[in-house]
């Protein structure tokens, strides 16, 4: 791919649109994927604090990501992909998000949507969409609607007209949509059924607005998408309504990516805490010590954070391995429930350690770590904003209900 010139970076950044995907690298093994992610992470890491501060969208970084081939690692073998494990996918997200969780989050819906495609797509749909992905195209997502009512409430509609199907609606929190070649959205069809409609980013009537203004994950461009009479082909519609009846794994797969992002944030916060204590913090005057890193109260906290992090990561990898195992055989209501419960476990612990580590970072590093130049508050802002999609308090409830009453979790993208 061609690098955009530096001139592009000024002022026009918000209007930049995805470059046509041409020839992404083909990754074939887990090791290659991890290596590619590690290399990309080094690049993401460099400008992360500045991008956060100045709210610069990571366009170059995202194009580099696509060129690396990482976007296609879950494409099934029968459709020409490497069909790498979810364990590898999870590790990829951890690595990228430890470097920059905003840039790293952008592909989250890409993989959630691909899991849905795998569960619900027709062979033709799979053939077509997977080919786009292998080329290096990106999938975004048009998020939920807004309002005080239930988060699952949907007013976006797809309607059959004389000229074919037409999509109309307005969605928020659409992570990745601005960077995407395809923008799938939830909608209701003429029969009142829930479907997912894939719209091209440059189709007439599609408008992506970067109005994401949260204090964290600032450069994800998780903004608004408007569809106004967007023409859609019948092959661009996935029957989501079947998921309510048919057990699948796209919910847990979508969730586990979220957990991996939070694990990455936690790791970065702990690493920065350790680095700051080693290199910059001064010992507390009552400690009688020469170096902050010898302070037993600091050592205790590092011990605690590392232990909770390792536990979160271990459950994250357990859950990913379980999803790999369960997706190799037909999914049942029971196995789908097990998957949701395992992912809920990982999700709670990654949320908690991301929040705790990014807050304790300052206890360990001290006042001077609050100076703007360090940009270290971005870890907490990122963790706090990214862990609010679905409240962990109800994850605990879900786990309790499963074990005490054998209740299966409701099936939706957050379980």
């Amino acid at each position: 791919m061609s690098e955009p010139s530096n001139a592009d970076r000024n002022g026009f950044e918000d209007m930049r649109r995805p470059a046509p995907a041409t020839a992404a690298r083909r990754i074939t093994t887990d090791a290659e994927a991890i290596e590619a992610a590690t290399a990309l992470a080094a690049r993401l890491s460099a400008g992360a604090a500045r991008r956060d501060r100045e709210r610069l969208l990571p366009w170059d970084e995202i194009e580099a990501y696509s060129a690396s081939g990482l976007g296609a690692i879950t494409v099934p073998k029968e459709f020409g992909g490497p069909e790498l494990s979810l364990v590898t996918l999870v590790r990829m997200f951890e690595i990228l998000c430890a470097a920059d969780p905003s840039a790293g989050q952008i592909p989250q819906n890409h993989f959630g949507v691909l899991a849905l495609l795998r569960d619900l797509g027709s062979p033709e749909q799979k053939q077509r969409f997977y080919a786009d992905i292998l080329k290096g195209e990106r999938i975004g997502n048009a998020g939920p609607e807004r309002g005080r009512n239930m988060i699952s409430h949907v007013t976006t509609r797809i309607t059959a007209t004389a000229d074919g199907l037409r999509l109309t609606g307005r969605r928020f929190y659409s992570t990745g949509a601005l960077f995407a070649h395809w923008i799938p959205t939830r909608a209701i069809d003429d029969e009142g059924r829930a479907v997912q409609v894939w719209a091209r980013f440059d189709a007439p009537g599609v408008k992506v607005i970067d109005d994401w203004s949260s204090f964290g994950q600032r450069t994800t461009a998780s903004g608004t998408v408007e569809f106004e009479d967007v023409p859609v082909g019948p092959g661009d519609v996935l029957p989501v309504w079947r998921a309510a009846d048919r057990p699948g794994l796209w919910g847990p797969i979508s969730q586990i990516v979220q957990a991996a992002i939070d694990a990455g944030i936690a790791r970065a916060a702990i690493d920065d805490a350790i680095g700051f204590v080693r290199d910059r913090a001064r010992p507390w005057m009552d400690s009688g010590l020469d170096r902050a890193s010898d302070d037993p109260t600091i050592i205790h906290e590092v011990g605690h954070l590392e232990t909770e992090f390792q536990a979160a990561q271990a459950l994250l990898h357990h859950a990913a391995a379980l999803l790999d195992e369960l997706s190799a055989v037909p999914v049942t209501a029971e196995s789908s429930a097990r998957a949701s419960v395992a992912v809920a476990e990982a999700k709670i612990l990654t949320t908690e350690i991301a929040l705790e580590a990014s807050e304790k970072l300052f206890d360990l590093a001290g006042s001077s770590a609050t100076r703007a130049a360090h940009g270290l508050d971005r870890h907490w802002r990122n963790a706090r904003v990214h862990t609010l999609h679905d409240p962990v308090r109800w994850k605990y409830h879900l786990i309790g209900s499963y074990h005490l009453n054998g209740a299966y979790p409701a099936r939706h993208q957050w379980n």
Binding site: R146, G147, R148, N149, M150, I151, S152, Y173, S213, S214, F215, G216, R282, P283, W284, M285, D286, S287, D290, D295, T297, I298, E301, L355, E359, F362, D363, G366, S367, S368, A369, T370, R371, A372, A373, D377, W380, R381, R384, V385, T387, L388, H389, D390, P391, V392, R393, W394, Y396, H397, L398, P409, A410, H412, W414, N415
Partner: protein, 400 residues
């Protein structure tokens, strides 16, 4: 700077609390904007000063209301719930007044207490950076021609807004000894440069910048003993610390009030909760109770500790001061934790829609996170544990 109008004279604790509540209602309106745009609260400080609260701790013998530490803590927490920065700015003012009360001469007290009742504000220039130890480099030079202050200070909260900058200086004494003093330097003196270079992510409008002193002339009567006030048991340390506790507590209560408002008015119920309104979610109710309780526990320890400080002010000795320091350290442990908890749970209970920049609700977390780092709470546990387990009294300095 022009002579400010003479403030209202606060005459009772009740009047002080009432003034604080009324100011808080005023300050809360634009607190978010001041933080977001980093607008220094010059006008607010004028109104704050005019209220008379800055003179409310002045001893009765010097014409003030001598409000109790319990009341002072409540006043500060009340302001902090509205605006964390505005609550922190006078912390050093009250600190300097306590140093003056404890260590100043009659003459000095008469002069500075009167200036404060007349509306003068005191800032501070205590901390230095760049050294890994905690020794200070700013010096008081006693030349035959006059006394001079020379040096550089950081984290000088309030200095930019003050008429006087009480500055911690070291001076050579006879026999090769050194001693420290608090020199009340006029903000407008020749050679004083206040630089608003504070760029922490929280408490953004405290004006906690740096101050440079280039051969600044000071009068001997402006120089108040400092070290001497730590050589014997005095309440300077716990008095300073309880104000920090009150600030964190107040920010926490501010965040809690935002939580209640947001959940009631704007949050949507969670998909799996089976309730119509977010405020009916049983798990939310449980956690609201939890946040509230941790704030209440912290508040109870602040009030308890303030009582110990009042008692130690009346009868300072090794024991009463140690007890006050320990009680205040315990308060700071819980205010730190509760303040952070409330600021974080605000979002967990409100949901993603509470994170929009226009609401700027993260300022509570940024403020309380920044302010709770004043000195490490980890070492409070050591002080408290050593006191109860081994009967060891805490070290005597301004941070305990």
């Amino acid at each position: 700077m022009a002579e400010p109008a003479r403030p209202t004279l606060i005459e009772s604790d009740a009047q002080a609390l009432e003034a604080a509540r009324s100011l808080a209602a005023d300050f809360t309106r634009d607190a978010s904007r001041r933080d977001a745009e980093r607008l220094l609260p010059w006008n607010e400080l004028e109104r704050y000063g005019a209220s008379g609260l800055w003179g409310a701790t002045v001893p009765r013998a010097y014409g003030g209301a001598e409000i109790s530490t319990v009341t002072l803590a409540r006043v500060i927490a009340t302001i902090a719930a509205a605006d964390g920065s505005l609550a922190q700015i006078p912390q050093n003012h009250f600190y300097a007044l306590e140093v003056l009360r404890v260590g100043g001469s009659q003459e000095q007290k008469r002069f500075f207490f009167d200036r404060v009742l007349a509306g003068d504000r005191l800032g501070n220039a205590l901390a230095e950076i760049g050294q890994r130890d905690f020794t200070r480099r700013t010096r008081l030079v006693r030349d035959p021609a006059g006394w001079y202050v020379e040096g550089q200070k950081f984290y000088c909260t309030g200095a930019i807004y003050a008429q006087w900058i009480p500055t911690l200086v070291v001076a050579d004494e006879e026999a090769g000894e050194t001693a420290s003093y608090l020199a009340f330097v006029p903000r407008s003196a020749e050679g004083v440069t206040v630089i608003d270079d504070w760029d922490g992510f929280g408490q953004r409008v405290t004006g906690s910048g740096s101050v440079r002193f280039e051969r600044v002339r000071v009068e001997p009567e402006w120089v108040v003993p400092f070290k001497a006030s730590f050589d014997r048991p005095t309440t300077i340390g716990p008095h300073a610390q309880i104000m920090h506790a009150a600030i964190d507590l107040g920010i926490g209560f501010g965040a809690f009030e935002e939580t209640l408002r947001f959940v009631r008015e704007r949050s949507r119920p969670w998909l799996d909760s089976g309730v119509e309104k977010a405020c009916e979610d049983p798990l939310t109710l449980h956690q609201v109770g939890h946040v509230r309780l941790r704030l209440r526990a912290a508040e109870a320890l602040v009030e308890r500790a303030a009582g110990f400080v009042d008692a130690a002010q009346r009868a300072p000795d090794e024991d009463s001061v140690a007890r006050a320091s320990i009680a205040v350290a315990q308060a700071r442990i819980l205010t730190t934790k509760a303040g952070l908890l409330a600021a974080e749970k605000l979002f967990e209970l409100s949901g993603t829609s509470a994170t929009q920049s226009e609401d700027n609700l993260d300022r509570y977390w940024r403020n309380v996170r920044t302010h709770t780092l004043h000195d490490p709470v980890r070492w409070k546990y050591q002080a408290v544990g050593n006191f109860h387990l081994n009967g060891k009294r805490p070290p005597r300095h301004g941070a305990i």
